[in-house]
């Protein structure tokens, strides 16, 4: 899953393929069913919970053109729906109702 994010964030060829058809592009990656669903649905909150590095995810959201406030809200909603981050070092440490930077 993170390899997909790495490629899409930096590789113009991958970005072109993304726009031509996300499903076909996802075929190139070894993904669990849950990871594939999260990426296919552009479900940022689930991608976060599944353990994507925050930097990879943040740049992916920028690629998608998602404003900062919507991005933070999507991640918070993901935690609320699916529970705490399952892997990696980007575990959420603040409360769901704690808007540290006002967003």
């Amino acid at each position: 899953m993170q390899k997909f994010l790495f490629d899409i964030n930096r590789d113009p060829a991958a970005q072109r393929q993304y726009h031509e058809g996300l499903d076909a592009l996802l075929e190139r990656y070894a993904l669990t069913a849950e990871e594939r669903r999260a990426l296919a649905e552009r479900a940022l909150g689930l991608i976060y919970v599944l353990g994507a590095n925050g930097q990879l995810l943040m740049h992916y959201a920028a690629f998608l053109g998602i404003p900062w406030t919507e991005y933070i809200a999507a991640l918070r909603a993901g935690i609320e729906k699916y529970g705490q981050v399952r892997a990696g070092v980007y575990t959420m440490t603040t409360r769901l109702d704690e808007k540290v930077a006002g967003v």
Partner: protein, 273 residues
């Protein structure tokens, strides 16, 4: 010639990308401090700027992650991020492959590093350059210390890398400036974004200003993660600058600006013997 300038600064993408969301009364003095750093850098008349940054998967991934890497190209491009999101237009940045090669060979005398003839800049380099070399007319030598994908290089090896960079800078005829970019404590890119451990940051900066080698390399990754967040791993870039400069530091600006996701920092260090 020698090392002619050393400094540290924040690089968070919000500094440029979320500028409009910040209180200008707060962000203004930070931007002014960046301007002061630029003036000091230009006053040192460098021939090239070595930027020790903590990149965020613009070039290196967990399939092949170097602890230390140095760019060796005639030119670079950036940012990889959406320009509108970052608030910085995509552009070309000059390099100097010959100088990079000489620096790399000198560093390799004591520290094993990777080199890269292709390198895309992300916010870790582009945000500082936006303020420090906004005309993109100074050749850049990009340097990366892995601060994203554990296991990370131990701090005593980061120190050795900084010392090696200094020896390399002193061995070339060009006038070399060096900056480290990163955060101190921060929890970026998530709903934690904006959380800062100011006391931990200020303690770190005291150690940095004093160039207290033992205190700077005494942090553990476990303690840093607990007290400084995953963004705290980027203390490596600041520590490498202390090792390279060998002088005493001064901090021109420090203040948490939550919407920028970091305790915003501008510092310079004298070049010691």
């Amino acid at each position: 010639m020698s090392l002619v300038f050393a400094g540290i600064c924040s690089h968070g993408p919000g500094i440029t990308g979320r500028a409009a969301m910040a209180d200008s009364a707060v962000s203004g003095p930070f931007y002014e401090a960046f301007g002061g750093m630029r003036a000091e850098l230009e006053g040192a008349r460098p021939d090239a700027l070595v930027v020790v940054a903590a990149e965020h998967f613009a070039n290196f991934f967990m399939n092949n992650m170097p602890s230390f890497a140095v760019g060796m190209a005639e030119g670079y491009e950036g940012p990889i991020e959406d320009p509108a999101w970052l608030g910085i237009e995509r552009t070309s940045i000059p390099g100097n492959a010959g100088l990079s090669g000489r620096l790399i060979r000198a560093v390799m005398q004591s520290v094993d590093i990777a080199f890269a003839e292709e390198w895309k800049f992300d916010h870790g380099i582009m945000v500082p350059l936006h303020f420090l070399t906004p005309r993109y007319d100074l050749p850049i030598v990009p340097v990366n210390i892995n601060c994203q994908g554990p296991p990370l290089a131990p701090l005593h090896r980061v120190w050795a890398f900084g010392e090696a960079l200094r020896r390399a800078a002193d061995a070339v005829p060009e006038r070399i400036a060096i900056i480290g970019t990163g955060g101190i404590s921060h929890w970026p890119a998530t709903p934690d974004s904006g959380k800062v451990n100011e006391a931990w940051d200020r303690e770190f900066l005291e150690r940095w200003k004093a160039n207290d080698h033992a205190a700077l390399v005494s942090y553990t990754d476990e303690g840093t993660y607990r007290d400084g967040g995953q963004g705290g791993f980027e203390i490596r870039t600041f520590i490498s600058i202390a090792a390279a400069a060998k002088g005493r530091g001064s901090v021109q600006y420090y203040r948490p600006i939550p919407i920028f996701s970091v305790g915003c920092t501008i510092g310079t260090m004298s070049v010691g013997a």
